[in-house]
Symmetry: C2
Subunit: 340 residues, 2 copies
C-alpha cells in the first residue's frame, strides 16, 4: 500500500492525498476526512525512507553510547535514553543509538553527518575541553550537550544540573550537623560534572575555613564495588570520617556495605548524602535507613532535551539554549549529628 495506490483507490492525485495527510491548508476539509479515513482503513503509512529522501530530513536523532569512556553505558544512560525516547516517540522521530569509542569519535561523527543519518545529536559526559563541540560545529551538525564543557567558548546548546550548588549545599548541611571529617566519593575525574561537584564540596568547606583531607577524596566509576572499596579504605583512617558524600546511588550502596562491615550504623555513627538520579528501581525512600540525597531526575533531563531538540529543528538557535537545573536536597535518615 503506497501513496499511489491510496490515491488511485480514492480517485485523487498523490499530491492531494499527501497534502491531506500532512495537514496542508489548501485541501478541502471533506476531502481530508475521506483521505484520512481511507488511510486508516487501509493501514497506509508513508515509507519513511522515501519521505526522508524527499524532505532531506532524516527524522531521527542520534545518541552516542560511550563504549570505552570512563562512563559506560550503564543505568544512568539507560534512564536518560528512556527520557529522550519517550518524548520523541510522540513525534515519530527515531532514536538511533551509535556506539562510539573515545578514540575515533570524530571520524564517526563525520560519517554520521555525511550519510545524513540523523538530524541532530545528543552528547553526554563532557570533559572540560571537549573536542566534540568544535568538531560538530565545524561539520554543521546540530547537537545538544547534556552537561557542560567548561572551557569551550564555541556557542552551543546545553542542559546541565547544578552539580556545584548541589554538593555545596550537601556539604554545608553536613557541616551544620557538626561533621568535619567528610569523605567524598566522586565520579570519574575527567568529567566536568565531577569537577563541579568537587568544586562545590571544597567551596563549602572553605567557607568554614576548612580544607578537605585529600586522603578522604576518591573518584571513579559509579559502581557498587568502587564505593565499597573507597569507603572501606577511608574508614580505616584515624580519625575516621564521620560523613560521606557519594556521587551516585550505586556507590552509595557500596559505601553502605562498607559501613556495616565496619560495624558502624548509618545515620548515627556515620552520615551519608548521595546524589540520586532517580532510578525507578532504586528508591532512596525505601532504603533502610532511608537515604538523604541530592536529587535530580536524569530521565526528566532526557525528556527535556528531546523537547529542546524539537525546538532546534523548528529554528530555535542553539546558542540560546542553556538550561541549568537546580538540584533538590532531600534529607532523610542517613544524616544525623556528628558523633562526639
Amino acid at each position: 500500500m503506497k501513496l499511489k495506490d491510496l490515491a488511485a483507490e480514492l480517485g485523487l492525485s498523490q499530491t492531494t492525498v499527501s497534502r491531506a495527510l500532512n495537514g496542508f491548508p489548501e485541501v478541502n476539509e471533506a476531502t481530508r476526512q475521506r483521505v484520512s479515513e481511507a488511510a486508516r482503513r487501509l493501514g497506509y503509512r508513508a515509507n519513511v525512507s522515501a519521505r526522508r529522501l524527499a524532505t532531506g530530513r532524516s527524522g531521527a536523532i542520534g545518541v552516542t553510547l560511550p563504549l570505552q569512556r570512563s562512563l559506560h553505558f550503564g543505568p544512568h544512560t539507560a534512564e536518560f535514553l528512556s527520557g529522550i525516547s519517550e518524548r520523541m516517540a510522540q513525534h515519530d522521530i527515531d532514536i538511533v543509538v551509535t556506539p562510539i569509542d573515545a578514540d575515533d569519535e570524530v571520524p564517526v561523527f563525520r560519517r554520521l553527518v555525511a550519510s545524513k543519518r540523523v538530524d541532530a545529536l545528543v552528547l553526554s559526559a563532557p570533559t572540560p575541553n571537549d573536542e566534540r563541540i568544535a568538531a560538530l560545529t565545524e561539520l554543521g551538525m546540530p547537537f545538544l550537550m547534556h552537561g557542560r564543557a567548561d572551557n569551550v567558548k564555541i556557542p552551543h546548546a546545553w542542559l546541565d544540573i547544578d552539580n556545584e550548588g548541589a554538593f555545596r549545599r550537601a556539604t554545608s548541611h553536613l557541616l551544620d550537623l557538626g561533621h568535619v571529617r567528610i569523605a567524598m566519593i566522586n565520579g570519574p575525574e575527567d568529567q566536568t560534572f565531577a569537577i563541579h561537584r568537587d568544586r562545590g564540596f571544597r567551596s563549602a568547606m572553605a567557607a568554614r575555613g576548612l580544607t578537605p583531607d585529600p586522603q578522604l577524596i576518591g573518584g571513579g566509576r559509579f559502581t557498587d564495588e568502587n564505593g565499597f572499596r573507597l569507603a572501606q579504605a577511608f574508614l580505616e583512617r584515624r580519625p575516621r570520617p564521620t560523613a560521606f558524600l557519594a556521587g551516585s546511588m550505586m556507590t552509595a550502596l557500596g559505601v553502605f556495605r562498607a559501613i556495616r562491615l565496619a560495624g558502624l550504623e548509618l545515620g548515627k555513627d556515620v552520615s551519608m548524602i548521595a546524589h540520586d538520579d532517580v532510578f525507578p528501581y532504586l528508591n532512596a525512600d525505601n532504603m533502610v535507613p532511608s537515604m538523604s540525597t541530592t536529587r535530580s531526575s536524569i530521565r526528566a533531563a532526557g525528556a527535556r532535551i528531546a523537547e529542546l531538540l524539537l525546538q532546534m529543528q523548528d529554528g530555535k538557535p542553539p546558542a540560546s539554549i542553556h538550561e541549568l537545573w537546580p538540584v533538590e536536597l532531600v534529607l532523610r535518615e542517613s544524616t544525623g549529628p556528628a558523633p562526639r
Copy 2:
C-alpha cells in the same frame, strides 16, 4: 557531495561509481582504486535515505524498550543493547530504539512495519503465551526473541540461556552442602525466564524428595530494594532459611544487606548463589565475600543476536535459529556448608 558529483569529478558514470564502491565484480580493479580513493579524499558517503529507498531495505534494526512492563529499561537492557549495537556498528546498521507500552504493542508494530522503518526487530522478556510472536509473524516482520515463549507453536528465531538448568544445578549444589531451607528470590512471575528458574529450583528439590516452602519464595523486579525486603521477611521466619537463590546481582546486593542487618555472616551462617548477567560495573569476584554465581553474559547474548539477525537478512530461515546457551556455575565465598 553526492554520487553525481563524485562521478562527474572522476569522469565516470554514476553506475560505475556505485558499483565500484559497493564491491561489484564487473568493475576494473584500477577503476575501483581510483574511485574509492576519490571517495575517501572528498569525504563521500552515500545518503542513507536514498540508498534505503532504492534497495528497499532500511538498514536498521529495531529494539523495543519496555516502558511499563514488569521489566524496565534498566541495567540489563543497557548491557544487552551494548552487545547488539557493538556488533551492528561494524556493518553500518542502525539500532533504532522504540519505547513501547505493554498495552499498545501491536499497533506500534503495525506502524513500524508499514513505514518500513526497520528490517527486523529484537524482542525481549517473553511471557509464556507471548502474543507478539503471532502479531509479527502475521505482519511478516522478521524478529528474534531473546528468551523463549513456552506455549507458542509458531516457528520463530530465538536465543535463550538455560535458566532451568542453571537453577537446578545451583539448587543441587546447595543441597549437596546440606542446605534444606532454601529461599528463592526470583524475577517477575509472568516472565518465562523466571518460570524456568522456578522449575529448575523445584525439580532439584524434588529430586531429593523435598518440597520448597512457599513462604520462602518471592519474585518481582530485579532491584536492590526488592531483594532487601524479601530477604528480610524470609530471615524472620523460623526455622530460618540457610541459603538464598537470587535472580540477579541487584537483588543479591539487597539480600546481602538484609543478611548483615540480621547480624548474620554470608558464606557461613547463610549461603547465597546469585545469577550474574555480567555487568562490567558489578563484579562478583570483587565483592566481600565474593559471590557464587550462575553466570551468563547478557552482553554476549546481544552480540550473538546481532550476528544472527545479519544471517537472517542473508536468507537464513528464522525457524532454524534456536540457541540455548549453557550457564556456568561459579563457586566463590558466598556458599558454604549449612550450619547445624
